[in-house]
Symmetry: C2
Subunit: 345 residues, 2 copies
């Protein structure tokens, strides 16, 4: 008759005592090691479950010299709702979380709006994880390169910049920009502007796609139709409103993001013009709202949940010592109301 049967099982030793086996056997049983008799394994596993015991991962990982942790570093300021495309990143975060969970890795979330390479290199995200995923490459390229030199597994969401020393997963930005522009040309637009700041590598590639689409269709590129527009909703609308009050000698605009596109639509409408009748507009990202604006937004979509998975797959391969190349996700043009057939000309 065992007394104290309901005693709290706090560690492997307690469980082993209860089952009348050694700690080693208990460990093997819980890890389903085939060297242990099946019956013993099942008995131990049932016992563990019954008493709500599960292996202490901290101790296991210490012993196994690993972390089972992947850090995700958000290099955007997520504490401001200005940048609507953050929504896009939440979706990606969900994809990453699910993919990591499937591989039994923990997701350590770090928020580092301004990346301080030296500080980050010393920090936990870097030193106590098996690898890192960086979200929001933006203009922090130099610091990322610096971190890459530490030779720890890392992968960055963004666009491959020529002298980068890290692995990148991102959208096929060139093709995305190209698709949007071709669609506008094909629906009869003649003077197509480009809205967006091309200091950002992703935007620069979208811009290249735009230029070559024009070229392919025999339309001369007019540099005066490239307008630098801020990335946030707030300033984008002001800038575009200002711009439209000065000139509207274009019949379409390719925007670098849905946020910018929505700002553009709003500004065009305030100017008393119609989208798409007077000016057609395309976005990029296909955020949830794109299907619900008035008019609904034609945009370049990518499977962002899949992007999260891909980031994880790539990182895990690197953790396992494989060499990995960059990946560009396929883009797809989603045609909605903001780009109807050109009316005149």
């Amino acid at each position: 008759m065992n007394s104290g049967r309901r005693k709290k099982i706090a560690n492997l030793q307690d469980l082993a005592d209860l089952a009348q086996v050694s700690r080693a056997t208990a460990s093997r049983a819980l890890n389903n090691n085939p060297r242990i008799a099946l019956e013993t394994r099942q008995r131990l596993q049932a016992l563990a479950h019954e008493h709500g015991y599960s292996i202490n991962r901290r101790a296991r990982d210490l012993r196994l010299q690993r972390n089972s942790v992947v850090s995700v570093v958000f290099m955007l300021d997520i504490r401001s709702q200005q940048n609507m495309s953050d929504l896009f990143f939440l979706d990606m975060l969900g994809g990453i979380a699910d993919a990591l969970a499937a591989k039994d890795y923990d997701l350590l979330l770090a928020h580092a709006p301004v990346i301080d390479a030296a500080k980050l290199a010393d920090g936990r995200a870097m030193t106590q994880s098996d690898g890192i995923i960086f979200i929001g490459q933006e203009r922090q390229h130099a610091q990322l390169n610096e971190l890459a030199d530490s030779n720890r597994p890392m992968v960055v969401w963004g666009h491959p910049v020529p002298d980068k020393r890290y692995v990148v997963v991102g959208s096929d930005n060139y093709n995305g920009g190209n698709q949007a522009t071709r669609h506008l040309i094909d629906t009869g637009r003649k003077r197509i502007a480009f809205f967006g700041n091309t200091a950002n590598p992703e935007n620069a590639a979208r811009f290249e796609g735009y230029r070559s689409a024009l070229c392919d269709r025999g339309i001369a590129f007019d540099p005066s139709l490239h307008f630098d527009v801020p990335f946030t909703m707030e300033s984008a609308r002001d800038t575009i409103t200002q711009l439209l009050s000065e000139r509207t000698d274009f019949d379409a605009v390719v925007c670098v993001s849905d946020v910018v596109a929505l700002a553009a639509i709003s500004a065009v409408q305030r100017q008393g013009l119609s989208v798409p009748n007077d000016i057609a507009v395309t976005g990029y990202d296909d955020i949830g709202l794109a299907a619900y604006s008035s008019p609904t937004l034609t945009t370049v979509r990518q499977d962002i949940g899949r992007a999260g998975e891909l980031l994880v797959e790539t990182l895990l391969r690197m953790i396992n010592g494989e060499a990995c190349g960059d990946t560009a996700l396929t883009t797809e043009l989603v045609v909605r109301e903001s780009t109807g057939q050109a009316q005149s000309s």
Copy 2:
């Protein structure tokens, strides 16, 4: 002459060897223990920094019998952009991340769209962290109660339900609903509808605030003006469009969220009516887009970054053994274009 001066410092022993002290002294020095000579401390700290060594948290935490980890469980499906108010949660996540970092806790992110109490109770989020923050109370109240019985520190973002056994931090929903409704009455609206599903406790409280505002101003509550509307943008617009085709015998509507409000505006406009001239609309949350819709949206705002901090503060107090009560965040009405003064009547 030390040879191998650039040898990799992998642990405390290496550092101690290099500095010609014992492991114990090295440990105390890095933890800035005043029992160690100041000079020794500084020397060791400099050495650690120089060689890029930092204490292995896994080992430290194992020894210290703690985790230094807080789990954040997202009970929403973040992998779908339908629910625009997710944006709201990303912002909250930022607040949580920053508050935890300030307290030297790691943030373990778990995505559990459908919460399985039994599974979660066994899982890492629960067993290997010092406490848990749940985001997205919604209708998972029963499971949360079940988890609460494990007596582990946990705090939930949501609304205090009568028989709950967990600590809640949330918006002052009653007051929020009340503010919005009073504002509509004060600007001359007579027949004010309510859009939203009140099975959700937060929404139910907002509804109560709406009802009592009517009552206070001597307006009879008309149950036929309460419409159940789905929470997602997609279905909300369809439902409201359908609704408006049947009846429009109201001149204002209090919506349970900005998402619903934006859907409502869009549906009203499709009906050929004007917001706010024919129907005024209020939202809830003040998501980034609220300031950029057409018309811009009058809504109930709460300081969501502060909400994140509050969740963390509360949880940390519980981890330290304090008993904690619920907290309701102050709400603030932000008046924009969607609720101009009533034109007629």
